[in-house]
């Protein structure tokens, strides 16, 4: 039922030989860890299942000279214990003529040559740190500076010039020509509101159409703004039209859009705070 075989009975010190344990059954077989005295297991294969038997191979060796027994191994087949034969193995020493063999001093510890893998971790860490630093510099320094430059370019300009510049930029975007009328009117009214906010120094972007118009009318009544009733009417029409486009899916004709664009430019050119001439200056003028 169970058998143990070795491929040789004589080896030299350190030489490897094979022990094969075969079982003539494949089901319910347990091959426990083999026990050896004076010999060592170098390697073992997984149990190989053949048609009617199981085979397990071990690579053994011995580092002491002498005769060693591989004791009987207990194998369980269907809960029944079977014993293999014991085997004898002779481990022989190698004869060395010490008078003829040249002796060498013990070598010092040799260093292995460096490979890429030795530095790869440091390299990746360095790259990650560089990427983080680079991103940080871009996000907090370059980008901020760019936006500051952009804002300051606009802010450095007087409100009228700034609004004109923005209107030209809006024209270049060709929004309504590309069926983006809603975005076009959003930006157009934002430019006009932004102009009112800067020129009249009042919050206009946070106010509704009615509130902005009411505010301008109050300024007109109190004579603090230099504008005509016609300009206020145009502003009213522009805002109303924009509200329809933005909130009521209105689609104005190209000619109407061009009119509104012209009106926006007219409004920013004709809505200015009244210049207050101080008395002293008046006297000087006189």
């Amino acid at each position: 039922m169970v058998r143990a075989e070795i491929d040789t009975t004589n080896i030299r010190i350190g030489e490897q030989f094979q022990l094969k344990i075969s079982v003539a059954e494949i089901e319910n077989v347990i091959i426990p860890k083999i026990s050896l005295i004076g010999l060592e297991i170098i390697d073992s294969t997984r149990t190989d299942t053949l048609k009617n038997s199981l085979i397990r191979r071990y690579i053994l060796t011995g580092f002491d000279s002498g005769a060693f027994y591989i004791p009987q191994q207990q194998i369980f087949v269907k809960n029944q214990a079977f014993l293999t034969d014991s085997l004898l193995i002779n481990v022989a020493t190698i004869r060395i003529d010490t008078t003829k063999v040249k002796k060498f001093p013990i070598k010092t510890i040799q260093k292995e040559p460096y490979t890429f893998d030795d530095f790869s971790l440091y390299l990746y860490l360095l790259l990650a740190i560089l990427a983080i630093v680079g991103f940080w510099i871009y996000w907090f320094v370059i980008r901020k500076r760019e936006s500051e430059i952009e804002i300051s370019t606009y802010k450095a300009l007087p409100p009228y010039e700034e609004a004109l510049l923005k209107l030209t930029a809006l024209d270049e975007k060709l929004l309504w020509q590309n069926n983006k009328t809603k975005e076009y009117y959003s930006e157009l009214t934002e430019i006009v509101r932004g102009y009112i906010e800067r020129e009249l120094k009042v919050p206009a972007l946070e106010k509704t159409t009615d509130e902005v118009l009411e505010m301008i009318n109050i300024f007109k009544k109190s004579d603090t703004v230099d504008t005509s009733k016609e300009t206020i009417e145009l502003l009213k029409d522009l805002f109303r039209e924009a509200d329809l486009v933005k909130f009521a899916k209105s689609k104005p004709l190209a000619i109407e859009i061009e009119d509104d664009r012209r009106d926006a430019e007219y409004i920013i050119g004709n809505l200015k705070p009244k210049t207050i001439i101080k008395e002293e200056e008046e006297d000087e003028l006189e």
Binding site: S186, E206, T208, T209, D243, K246, F247, K249
Partner: protein
């Protein structure tokens, strides 16, 4: 979804004709409370309940009474007192000796318009019974559940004075009111008119000018009012600014707000803005509509901290700061 705003405008033109007639009818009795009448109409169209707050004598009860008379609908009034019981509001089961069985006696809540007068004078259990009915729109008495008739509109009043012995509505319950309308004193000319009317003893009679069916139809049209994505974003910005003011350049409000508006706040703000647009005969919502209703919708939904109370900052101040900061679309 493709929305035809022009078609909605036409529908509104047809269905909103009653607004002028109803307002005219109410103005026969109520003088100088235009905003209150508008708020009542928003509640009526938005299927929401209204909490009216104002000092005694500002025609809160009269306004609700008049509205119910102007609409051909059932009306009941419950005067909230400290000894009121939930059964006095919702109804109870009584023993019928003749039939030797229990029968259901429905409470005053079974009406189209319910006036809960001085709601803060009744204990929490009565308030809860009413507010639960407001939310669920149904009442269970014994084993039977009754669905409340549409329209079902609760208009509650409370006085900001005489707070002794009152039971203030908890935040979670006050959130169920679509609008909290604060009524101020009438203008001098209006008060003169009120005085003259009362002295002459000639009180106008209010006639029913609109049916329940008309209101339900108008509600459906008001619901169709187009709200653009930009307006939705504007509403959400306002609501989120009450929750995370620091993200909207309003870090100074952070310590003044205990809690911001709930999702019910955004739902009701959108709904009220649509109804306001309907009242103004518009088939689409504009930022003005949102601004017109934002105070009534949010004033009872923002919790203020002790710090804010100490500095005399109210929820209205907070809303003001928010709308002055958030850009109009």
């Amino acid at each position: 979804m493709d929305v035809d705003v022009r078609a909605i405008n036409e529908k509104i033109e047809k269905e909103s004709a009653f607004i002028d007639i109803l307002t005219l009818e109410m103005n026969k009795v109520i003088v100088g409370q235009k905003q209150m009448i508008e708020s009542l109409l928003i509640g009526l169209l938005g299927n929401g309940h209204i909490l009216l707050e104002g000092v005694p004598g500002l025609a809160k009860t009269l306004a609700i009474n008049t509205l119910s008379k102007a609409v051909q609908a059932s009306f009941s009034r419950v005067q909230f007192t400290p000894d009121l019981l939930p059964a006095d509001v919702v109804g109870t089961m009584i023993y019928n000796m003749k039939e030797n069985d229990f029968m259901i006696k429905k409470g005053p809540i079974f009406a189209n318009f319910v006036l809960a007068d001085e709601i803060n004078r009744a204990p929490a259990k009565v308030q809860s019974a009413l507010l639960e009915a407001m939310q669920e729109r149904q009442i269970t008495i014994g084993d039977t559940t009754f669905k409340l008739d549409e329209p079902f509109l609760v208009m509650a009043t409370q006085n900001p004075v005489e707070q002794e012995g009152t039971y203030p509505l908890p935040e979670a319950q006050v959130d169920r009111f679509m609008l909290k309308v604060v009524i101020d004193y009438p203008k001098l000319q209006d008060e003169q008119l009120i005085m003259r009317q009362n002295l002459s003893g000639e009180f106008a009679t209010v006639n029913p000018v609109i049916s329940v069916a008309q209101i339900i139809k108008a509600r459906a049209v008001a619901n169709e009012v187009y709200m653009d994505e930009k307006i939705e974003k504007y509403i959400l910005d306002i609501i989120f600014a009450t929750r995370y003011p620091e993200k909207y350049n309003l870090a100074n409000l952070k310590d003044l707000i205990n809690f911001g508006a709930s999702p019910r706040g955004s739902i009701n703000l959108a709904k009220a803005a649509k109804c306001y647009a309907f009242i103004k005969r518009r088939g689409y919502v504009i930022p003005e509509d949102v601004r017109a209703v934002v105070f009534d919708v949010l004033r009872h939904r923002i919790g203020i901290t002790y710090e804010a109370e100490a500095e005399n900052v109210t929820s209205v101040d907070i809303i003001n700061a928010i709308i002055n900061e958030i850009e109009v679309p």
